[in-house]
């Protein structure tokens, strides 16, 4: 039976995340908005 495991540990999450970062370039600035 296949099992869909969450990225339950931070390592698994970071592995997924690092697949996304190659699309970043020096033109991409953070979208931080700490609106209160």
């Amino acid at each position: 039976m296949p099992t869909i495991e969450p990225a339950a540990t931070v390592e698994a999450l970071l592995t997924e995340f690092h697949k996304l970062t190659p699309q970043l370039s020096e033109h991409d600035f953070p979208a931080v908005d700490f609106h209160a």
């Binding site: 099992t3 869909i4 990225a7 931070v10 995340f17 699309q23 600035f29 953070p30």
Partner: protein
């Protein structure tokens, strides 16, 4: 239903016709809260004396023709992260069990000025950091449709208080679905407004760049009345004919519980029957957006609560685990997550040029039993937390307004999520109010 009134508008009409007093509404609400508390555990603090005092003031004002608007004399509740001077604000935590603030939250100030009557502070997942509302310090909050099931979270007590008819509306917070998930699981309306639309002043944070404030209510119209008071909403026309509804081809229709799938397609057929156009769309990778959101939240929550991590034994195990994971995320990865976030925000804006709203299910499942960690969907097991949040978290990252509307299927509610354009909260509520009012066919 309080004093025979299903909605805020009905209660307001009766108040102004002197068919019921605010004190009578408050007394009936209090009686319902006390009767329900052993069964559902929706409240952490019940503010009976304050409620009766505020209700008496509302009656006096109405007697002198001082009309403070649609929430005057209306019983409501605040999630226990909204600061209220003189009343504890626990955040559902052992660490803040006796915490008192020297200020009121902006939302509470506005609601008080509008004459609304605070019945108490509702329970939540510890520090709003989870979706079960199975709180180790204040006890599990229970679903009004089946007390053996979770109400969702983190605003679980607010969802129960509204869905069980204990109050007319309740305020919640939503960092990764914490208004919409309990709305879907308990069977009420829940609005996560556009990011920044409602002031967070005086509300204990969780994820600084992901937190949103919004109402849970019995109807879309009631939610709009609350937004009028806390965010200056203006009424707009709720046209349905010709509106373009984006229906994602992938992700949001995958791995759905059968009843959720059925309810979602019924909603699509309903709005199409009213003259809206359904448009299949390809959405920018929601799984990637969720990954970005989870990484941002891990970092921001751990930065916030790090000063208390020397009291490990005072945290529940799930929250402690998340806080420790967040400490392992590097600053560079956090910054990259915020950079990626902007890319996906721009991609999502491009698809919104072609549609007015996007429809998705709110959650992939209906409320699971308390203590159950996994659910089985389409022959596969999935973590309850992910099955509950994978459709809602992307819109915290994107900052878009998202509304959950309930439908009852097999005795348990399922939620329809309607996502609008940034800043178009009034249009979103007007459309949803017209399309899903009791009189819309």
């Amino acid at each position: 239903m309080i004093a025979g009134c299903k909605t805020i508008e009905e209660a307001g009409t009766k108040l102004r016709a002197r068919e019921v007093s605010a004190v009578e509404l408050a007394q009936e609400s209090l009686a319902r809260i006390h009767a329900a508390q052993p069964r559902f555990n929706a409240f952490i603090t019940i503010t009976a004396d304050l409620a009766l005092e505020q209700a008496r003031r509302a009656d006096e004002d109405l007697a002198h023709d001082i009309d403070r608007g649609p929430l005057q004399g209306i019983p409501y509740a605040l999630k226990d992260v909204f600061a209220t001077r003189g009343i504890p604000t626990t955040c559902g935590s052992k660490i803040f069990r006796n915490r008192m603030t020297d200020h009121d939250s902006d939302a509470y100030e506005k609601l008080t000025a509008a004459g609304a009557v605070l019945m108490g502070k509702t329970g939540l997942h510890e520090f709003a950091y989870g979706i079960t509302s199975n709180n180790p310090h204040f006890g599990a909050i229970r679903n009004p449709h089946d007390p053996e099931r979770i109400p969702g979270g983190s605003s679980g007590g607010s969802g129960v208080a509204v869905a069980a008819g204990l109050v007319f509306f309740a305020m919640g917070t939503d960092t990764g679905g914490s208004i919409r998930v309990p709305a879907a699981y308990c069977g009420c309306v829940g609005l996560k407004p556009t990011y920044g639309r409602v002031s967070r002043d005086g509300v204990f944070p969780l994820g600084f760049s992901l937190d949103h404030i919004g109402p849970l209510a019995g109807t879309v119209h009631d939610a709009a009345l609350v937004m009028k008071v806390i965010a200056g909403f203006q009424a707009v026309a709720g046209d349905i004919t010709g509106r373009r509804i984006g229906v994602p081809r992938s992700f949001f229709l995958e791995r759905l519980a059968p009843e959720v799938d059925r309810a979602f397609h019924q909603a699509l057929a309903h709005v199409e029957g009213l003259g809206a156009h359904l448009i299949p769309i390809d959405v920018p990778d929601p799984a990637a957006i969720s990954t970005i959101g989870r990484l941002i939240l891990l970092s921001e929550a751990s930065a916030l609560l790090k000063p208390y991590l020397d009291r490990r034994e005072d945290f529940g195990p799930d929250v402690l685990s998340l806080l420790e994971q967040g400490l392992l995320v590097s600053a560079a990865d956090y910054i990259d997550a915020q950079r990626l976030r902007r890319i996906y925000q721009q991609r999502w804006m491009e698809i919104q040029d072609h549609v007015d709203f996007v429809f998705t299910p709110t959650t992939a499942i209906q409320a699971p039993p308390i203590g159950q960690d996994k659910v089985r969907i389409d022959g596969s097991e999935e973590d309850v937390r992910l099955a509950s949040t994978r459709f809602v978290r992307p819109f915290n990252v994107l900052g878009l307004p998202a509304l959950s509307i309930p439908s009852i299927t097999n005795g348990l509610p399922a939620g329809l999520q309607i996502v609008g354009k940034s800043g178009s909260d009034e249009d979103l509520l007007a459309f949803a109010g017209s399309a899903f009012s009791p009189h819309s066919g």
